[in-house]
Symmetry: C2
DNA sequence: GTCTATACAGTGATAGAC
DNA sequence: GTCTATCACTGTATAGAC
């Protein structure tokens, strides 16, 4: 009889996948226990606040990952390199479209109201960080804002349609087109 | 004491709004009865198959609306006029971003598996209908497919981010940019 | 075609043993 | 830090009166 002992940092990725697959309301405690192999007791040990706390911590965790791996590089590093880096990270993170964006998905249903602030901040910072990088390549603020909005929305749309069609190649093509278009702006400068 | 008597065609739009706001799992029968002012008894009279049947009929209804108002015009009418018409209808239908796309939202969670076929067909037909119209303006098949994928994904992404930011103007800007970009293709021909 | 009453499974959450 | 047992409540669905 094996007994696995976890700490919270092990648990979060496990629970995250369940919410990603089933959504906030769809991820019932029994579904979560079944898929994580953790009992309700253990779950409430880590998250005394229940589902709401789980998701709050999951979203904070995802947000932090994007800050570290995408937003801050865009804000601070050499902009063209940071943009290239963003495309690689985005493709890897979303597993070529097989993984959805939890913050985007939660924006679409009643869950949004609960996690309003994190969701808004995440998208605002992504758009602003990308715009900042573009401005540093010499693109005008107005153009940079426009193309950043278009790019971030394009990624989300790619995830939606790719999943709707059940076709990973759709997401790949979308990323390639967006990256191509973005580069036509910053290569000019 | 007033008593309102409905037929199914009256009920579907009412129920649709509830699923749009709350998602499949979030829209419990008690939430639906509260918001539509119809009792469970009445609901099961119209939809003996329960929630699953409700959503199946809702999605079929939405799909049919898009076929009549957007897809068939794109496939049959003068292409540039049909594309202009599409932009107006899309903006009106999604109420400038305040209304989400149910088929897109359902693609993002566990609901997708239940309504797999309708969801896939809807997006495939939209992309193909738009591509067909573009080809008829003289754009090459390859370019038309590309720009159609980009446009449909862009609309979905606009809805996601607009709602995430809680900012209708984001959706409006997204539509304007996509329409502008699309026109640069078919105006050339 | 409307409704209320009811069944009973599944829900989030807690207590307490190990 | 793990678990099972149990709680009150909400979930979907049905029956039957009007």
């Amino acid at each position: 009889m094996t007994r696995t002992v976890f700490e919270k940092s092990d648990v979060i990725p496990l629970v995250t996948e369940v919410f990603r697959e089933l959504g906030y309301e769809g991820a019932s405690l029994s579904k979560i226990t079944a898929r994580t192999r953790l009992s309700k007791g253990s779950l409430y040990y880590f998250f005394p606040g229940g589902k709401e706390q789980m998701v709050a911590e999951i979203l904070a965790h995802i947000d932090q990952w994007f800050i570290n791996n995408i937003f801050e590089p865009l804000e601070k590093n050499e902009p063209r390199a940071a943009i290239d880096h963003m495309w690689r990270e985005v493709d890897a993170y979303f597993q070529s479209g097989q993984r959805i964006c939890l913050l985007g998905a939660f924006a679409m249903d009643g869950t949004r109201d609960r996690f309003d602030t994190v969701i808004r901040q995440y998208f605002m910072r992504w758009i602003e960080a990308l715009s900042t990088a573009l401005v540093r390549t010499g693109v005008s603020k107005e153009t940079a804002d426009q193309i950043s909005e278009e790019t971030v929305a394009g990624i989300q749309g790619g995830l939606v349609v790719s999943r709707a069609l059940n076709d990973d190649s759709f997401f790949e093509r979308t990323l390639a087109r967006l990256a191509q278009r973005l580069s036509t702006y910053h290569y000019l400068n």
